[in-house]
Symmetry: C2
Subunit: 224 residues, 2 copies
């Protein structure tokens, strides 16, 4: 555990607890995009790849991401992004019901952990268990993963960002599924030029660069 | 495909497309709780258990649930629940940033498909592939599933509903994971008295009863 603020002052109530190479990079990026005060604490994974005990002790379910805010310890990427944008970000990066792209925003925000992460998880499990596409059960499970990339590629051919022309919290949710998940389960993006162009746009953002430099020092984001 | 309204009139813009024994039961229940006008269309699964082609054709990714609303075809449970409560339900069943239980609401709303459904999916995959807990990889994957039930049991010992004393959209998201998923992957609820008492409260609700009778005729909800 390493407090990013060398003064050690408790100047921010909001603390992002970042488990290295995990979904919690989203929260660091969100805080940087919103330019809100926050404290960052980094946690290394154990040799077995799992979160260390002090991470798991932060919150009952114990999976990344976790933020603390006063007495509150909150998990789940979607919950934290909704909470931080509403309580600390003045609603910036969210899209409200009055906007024409409200449904697009909601769809991609929820697609990230509702469909894309499970698809990536299935691919990881298949890899761990040594299943190839020659196994009929594995093939059926992996088919949805390919479809997920196809619908993403299509979307990014019609809009610069997932919810439309501007970056929103839907991008904060989606980018991790296209980048750092490939540390665990490689996936060739060569057939997806729109995805690759999108990731270059993301990588050019100062807030993303700052977030990844703070959250993952020495790690080059998988933008290609 | 069967339109629930025998007159066939297009009296409601909002249409819930329900794939039998799937997450789309949530949307039928939501509409019944909100008492809003909607059209229900039922789709049977194919003999192989998958959604039929006319269901997949409704929306690009093609997984249940899907709603249509004028020109819009929207997927993802979380997106649809947020959309319907905001656009058709006047915000009822949602919890806003000003409420003391805002974070609890967000957490359980997102836990449903962010953590609980993946946990249930892993159990299903392990079952399909014939993996037992004697397999070390399977054991590691199944450990998180058990923890999910433990944190749910704890929560329902401290509150009548997931977000607090009242039913909210967080319950709409969570209940399916505790009931109908057990059609595919049985899970013994005997060790979880709080979960069983909660499901009895849900099963006593008229709106839930109406929704399940319409969405799953001839199927007794797995409330025990």
């Amino acid at each position: 555990m390493l407090a990013a603020d060398p003064t050690g002052e408790d100047h921010a109530m909001l603390t992002a607890h970042h488990l290295r190479r995990s979904q919690s990079e989203r929260i660091v990026w969100l805080c940087e995009e919103l330019a809100i005060p926050y404290t960052l604490v980094l946690y290394d994974r154990q040799p077995d790849g799992l979160a260390p005990p002090d991470y798991k002790a932060l919150q009952a379910f114990g999976t990344a991401p976790i933020v603390t805010d006063g007495e509150l310890a909150l998990g789940e990427s979607g919950a934290i992004v909704d909470y931080v944008t509403a309580k600390h970000g003045g609603g910036r990066l969210a899209v409200g019901p009055e906007a024409a792209n409200f449904a697009d925003y909601l769809y991609w925000f929820h697609f990230a952990n509702g469909s894309m992460m499970p698809a990536r998880m299935v691919a990881m499990i298949a890899g761990r268990l040594g299943l190839s596409e020659e196994n009929p059960a594995a093939r059926a499970l992996l088919r949805r993963s390919k479809l997920a990339y196809a619908v993403i590629e299509d979307r990014l051919g019609r809009a610069d960002y997932f919810a439309g022309p501007e970056l929103t919290a839907a991008d904060i949710m989606m980018v991790y599924t296209l980048t750092t998940t490939r540390v665990y389960t490689p996936y060739d993006l060569a057939p997806y030029p729109n995805v690759r162009a999108y990731l270059q746009r993301i990588g050019a953002r100062r807030a993303y660069q700052r977030a990844m430099a703070k959250a993952e020092p020495g790690f080059a984001p998988l933008l290609e």
